[in-house]
Symmetry: C2
Subunit: 257 residues, 2 copies
């Protein structure tokens, strides 16, 4: 079988958001959508996300479940210097390896703080599970780390994004997911039947229907996703035709996913 005959491999990921502040509603998560888009660009399908509290037993069991079910796992949160930052220790426990002070991480932190500033609490940010590889932090604070297929990132969005942007290009993705979106002012209920039939004819693509409600009008945005640009193009043409047949005016938007 030639390489061209191989079906594109699907590479999957799970995001694990660690933090009581998300579950209490204090903090609106901003990391999931960023990681979702970045993974998509790398040809990796985000298939699940979980938000869990700062509870070691729950983190350990969840990490052990998802690292076996997905190609990649990305965690956010819980790698700072305070008592509620228990992610690194929990990941070490999940992998049944000791938590060590990483010499290079310690050196990075020593360079970041004024002399004498690297106290015991801050030194916790140099602790990683034995065998972990550091993930460079281009804005020069504590690094993230990777162990096996688990990437451990901070929760502060600016820092998480900087680290992820550095590592993204080294991820092994499968076929990239392409998408096109068509909006119209028809209601979902008016187009649903034809849309279901279109989806049935294009079983290799994924057609999503997302209603919108604005002050001035309402309507629906239809997103067609897949890996084959020509098939997506064909489905888009059929979709535009059926929108027009129902009296709508199809507007193509930016590919949004």
């Amino acid at each position: 079988m030639s390489q061209a005959d191989n079906p594109p491999k699907t590479v999957t990921a799970c995001v694990l958001i660690i933090g009581n502040e998300i579950l209490s509603g204090r903090t609106q998560d901003a990391n999931l959508a960023f990681l979702a888009k970045g993974l998509n660009e790398a040809g990796i399908r985000l298939r699940e996300a979980r938000v869990v509290p700062d509870d070691a037993d729950i983190i350990v069991s969840t990490v052990n479940e998802v690292r076996r079910s997905f190609d990649y796992v990305f965690t956010t949160g819980g790698i700072g210097p305070t008592h509620d930052d228990i992610t690194s220790a929990s990941i070490a426990e999940a992998f049944a390896v000791p938590l060590i002070v990483h010499p290079e991480a310690k050196r990075l932190l020593e360079g970041h703080y004024p002399p004498g500033g690297l106290n015991e609490a801050r030194l916790r940010m140099a602790q990683v599970p034995d065998g972990a590889v550091l993930l460079p932090n281009p804005i020069s604070r504590a690094p993230g780390f990777r162990i096996d297929n688990v990437f451990v990132l901070p929760g502060v969005p600016q820092i998480m994004q900087a680290i992820f942007s550095e590592l993204k290009h080294r991820l092994q993705g499968g076929a990239a997911v392409l998408s096109r979106s068509i909006s119209c002012t028809l209601s979902e209920g008016a187009i649903a039947k034809d849309l279901g039939e279109l989806q049935a004819r294009y079983a290799d693509l994924e057609i999503g229907s997302y209603p919108y409600f604005r002050r001035s009008d309402f309507g629906v945005t239809l997103v067609i996703r897949g890996t084959d640009r020509e098939r997506i193009g064909a489905a888009v043409e059929e979709l535009k035709t059926l929108v027009r047949a129902l009296g709508g005016d199809p507007q193509e938007g930016q590919a949004e996913d």
Copy 2:
């Protein structure tokens, strides 16, 4: 044992966000933080959230796992009229009951659309698992429903919020979680050691540390959560004292969770 001797019961919840559009990064979820705050007000602890794709097998297995692990489950998304709206059918499968057209839901929809407007696709929004109870939608579109401890809500935030606000007062919560927050311009690393010792002395409370970075300054917000107002007050006073001892100026914020 008198009622006053009973420890406050902890009532738990899991939120299940259903939709490819969240996992693709197309849509920024806005429902989790809203539900988290609302549940908190009702004395219910949100202990986990999951985002899963529009995949019946995954929805069924996830619902069956979480409805047995938590007192309440709230799902959002996937109850509209289009082919990708598979939540109601998946919940019926999870409970091993037939999917039926609910007479009252059908009547509500008939009243909402112009004569003849309730087509086959829209009628899907009247389908619920046999035995489900409708959740009134005060902005007069398709209702949500409840079956056992699972509450099924739409994904569109305005509609989800309206339905949840109606049902919230009928939830059976435990002891309400109270919180107070103190901010200061100290760094997390400077306060971490003392903060860990404070947490150790107040093991019945939960102290969270959340760094912030603004254009003009940086610092940390410390949130103390618990069910006993006096204990929280005592911990806050100790916290203010230790912030001042480190050269900081403690500012009490609004209770944010």
